[in-house]
């Protein structure tokens, strides 16, 4: 129906429905079956400054297909700035970002979204007055083909499209286990569930690359476990490549394949969780060094 086949890996309605059934049995073994592919996102020598403040200095790293790549670092390390560069919110002064071999420097969020990149926000940026269903439906915006006039006069094609999109969104709602809140305005939901809606809206875009900005910020342990499970499921079931920023070291080390560590806008470590854990620069950035 939509371009699922054309773009390769993003979840289709069927896949999401299937994931729903598999949810109970998702566990470690499934993860080994996942095949890490070629580089899909290549960040080269990015520097970003706001006036005199250097947010990022000469950052390079890559992200491979199907992997979960974490960006960690203390407060103010430049993690969100990095994500905002990839997402097209900020334009870095130097360096380049290539997505599936296409290099871009001046692009706005909408154009990046069209290239199959979805994101969630650190401080929830949901449409507060709208219901859960409507919020996630907005994620289907790029898949809509009918025009304003057709929608206004309730043309048959517009109606059919709306219900087809609705089915996909219902699949996502089931997947994220928020069926009971379908019609609730998101502003009235508990914080942890709002984060899920944020993820749901991003998933509705059927992204190839999913950027998660502190998906577990402000959550309690139980909510963090739920969110980790959803992230792993998305990665397993749909093969979505994920770049995530997180503060909580234990969570990051558990779910990510490779980790980039930033501190004061510079890259101080890059590797598997174990490598990063053993890196003395990383330890000193997090714990402080004795002078």
């Amino acid at each position: 129906m939509t371009g699922a086949a054309a773009v390769g890996l993003p979840p289709s309605a069927g896949a999401i429905a299937a994931a729903r059934i598999d949810l109970a049995s998702t566990s470690e073994p499934a993860r080994t079956a996942r095949r890490i592919g070629d580089v899909v996102l290549d960040v080269r020598n990015i520097s970003l400054a706001f006036g005199g403040v250097k947010a990022l200095t000469d950052i390079s790293f890559d992200v491979r297909e199907h992997e979960i790549r974490a960006i960690i670092g203390p407060n103010g390390a430049g993690k969100s700035s990095m994500l905002n560069c990839i997402n097209g919110v900020y334009q870095p002064q130097q360096g380049s970002i290539s997505l599936r071999g296409k290099t871009f420097r001046h692009m706005n969020s909408r154009e990046v979204a069209k290239m199959g990149v979805a994101r969630t926000f650190q401080n929830l940026a949901l449409f507060k007055g709208m219901s859960v269903l409507d919020n996630i439906m907005t994620g289907r915006n790029l898949k809509m083909r009918t025009n304003l006039l057709q929608q206004a006069i309730r043309w048959g094609a517009a109606e059919r499209e709306e219900s087809a999109q609705r089915r996909i969104v219902e699949g996502i709602i089931d997947f994220l286990e928020i069926q009971a809140y379908r019609k609730t305005p998101v502003g009235k939901m508990p914080y942890g569930l709002q984060k899920r809606v944020d993820l749901g809206r991003a998933l509705a875009m059927e992204p190839q690359l999913l950027l998660l900005d502190e998906p577990m910020a402000g959550m309690n342990v139980e909510e963090k476990q739920d969110m980790s499970r959803f992230i792993l499921d998305v990665n397993d079931e749909f093969g979505t490549t994920i770049v995530l920023i997180e503060h909580d070291m234990s969570v990051v080390m558990d779910i990510s394949d490779r980790v980039v560590v930033l501190d004061y806008g510079k890259k101080i470590g890059d590797g598997t969780p174990d490598e990063v854990r053993a890196n003395p620069d990383v330890i000193s950035a997090y714990l402080g060094t004795s002078h």
Binding site: F127, N135, T138, M144, L148, A152, E161
Partner: protein
């Protein structure tokens, strides 16, 4: 009881028209954060276009069917407002993305003067009539309940019905269509809307077009009541207290605020007027707005702004 109800009805009818104009403000402010000072000028511009098209169509095409003439003129005037919306976005607001609210306000102030001037240059600066066949005769209702019945102005009644239908259509458009959903999304959060691929500039053109059509309907109703002339752009000043009362971000607020002010000014004129020496109708709305600013600055339904300190 009779005079009270009569005044109440009168107030509700006028209030409905205030609501229409306030609605234009709210639509644009919600979607783009721009306080559109030009809303009044848009009413004037639209009404002038409507009045002159309705005059020119029979003159140049020889089509002498009042309903058709008016219908075609309305469609043309609506098209003019859509083109205007597109031009404003392309030439003015599209170049001021991410600027301060005050900068955008000043830009709309500029648009106001441009529209007032160019509207009169294009369409003439006389007093024009819009005759869409609104009945002028008053009617009496509830003659059994009250002695002599209640005097209701038929024209006002029609106007209120038109306004109510327009508001209902807008509500349907916003709630039930995919584009309406995208509009609400942009109103809630620009950044997030853009990240899911909603084109902000196209949405803004749509919003300004909708506000333009709302201005056209308001202009047609006021114009058929009072004639189309420069002072029409001043009715927008009456809508300012309405949006303060109802809240700048709330569509129901604009409607209820309009009704409250319409009713309030009529009732105060009748009941407080004799005590204070009359003429209350002129300033009542502004005093009410001032009181609201002191007590509840976000208005009845507006979002309370909570700043993180």
């Amino acid at each position: 009881m009779g005079p009270f109800l009569e005044t109440l009805f009168g107030g509700l009818m006028v209030g409905m028209l205030y609501s229409l104009i306030a609605l234009g403000f709210v639509l644009i402010y919600k979607a783009s954060g721009v306080f559109n000072f030009a809303q009044g000028a848009m009413v004037l511009f639209a009404a002038l276009a409507m009045a002159r098209f309705a005059e020119w169509i029979p003159k140049y095409t020889g089509l002498n069917n009042k309903f058709l003439d008016n219908a075609i003129a309305f469609v043309f005037a609506a098209l003019v407002m859509v083109v205007l919306a597109w031009l404003i976005q392309k030439l003015v607001l599209g170049r001021l993305v991410n600027q301060d609210g005050i900068t955008l306000l000043m830009a709309t102030l500029g648009i106001t003067y441009f529209l007032e001037g160019s509207g009169q240059a294009l369409f003439g600066n006389d007093i024009y009539k819009i005759d869409i066949g609104m009945p002028k005769d008053p009617i009496f209702i509830l003659e059994k309940t009250f002695q002599g019945g209640l005097l209701v102005n038929k024209e006002d009644l029609y106007a209120a019905v038109i306004a109510a239908v327009l508001v209902a259509l807008l509500a349907l458009f916003f709630q039930k269509t995919a584009t309406g959903r995208a509009l609400r999304a942009v109103a809630d959060d620009h950044q997030a809307a853009q990240s899911i691929g909603i084109p902000l500039d196209r949405i803004w053109v749509i919003v300004w077009s909708v506000a333009g059509v709302v201005a056209l309907v308001a202009g047609v109703i006021w114009g058929s009541k009072l004639g189309v002339q420069f002072s029409l752009s001043l009715v927008a000043l009456k809508a300012l207290p309405v949006v303060i009362l109802g809240g700048l971000t709330s569509i129901p607020g604009a409607i209820i605020g309009g009704l409250l002010i319409g009713v309030g000014e009529k009732l105060s004129e009748i009941y407080l007027g004799p005590l204070l020496g009359g003429g209350i109708e002129i300033w009542f709305a502004y005093v009410l707005a001032l009181a609201f600013l002191l007590v509840r600055p976000q208005g009845l339904f507006g979002e309370k702004i909570i700043d993180r300190v």
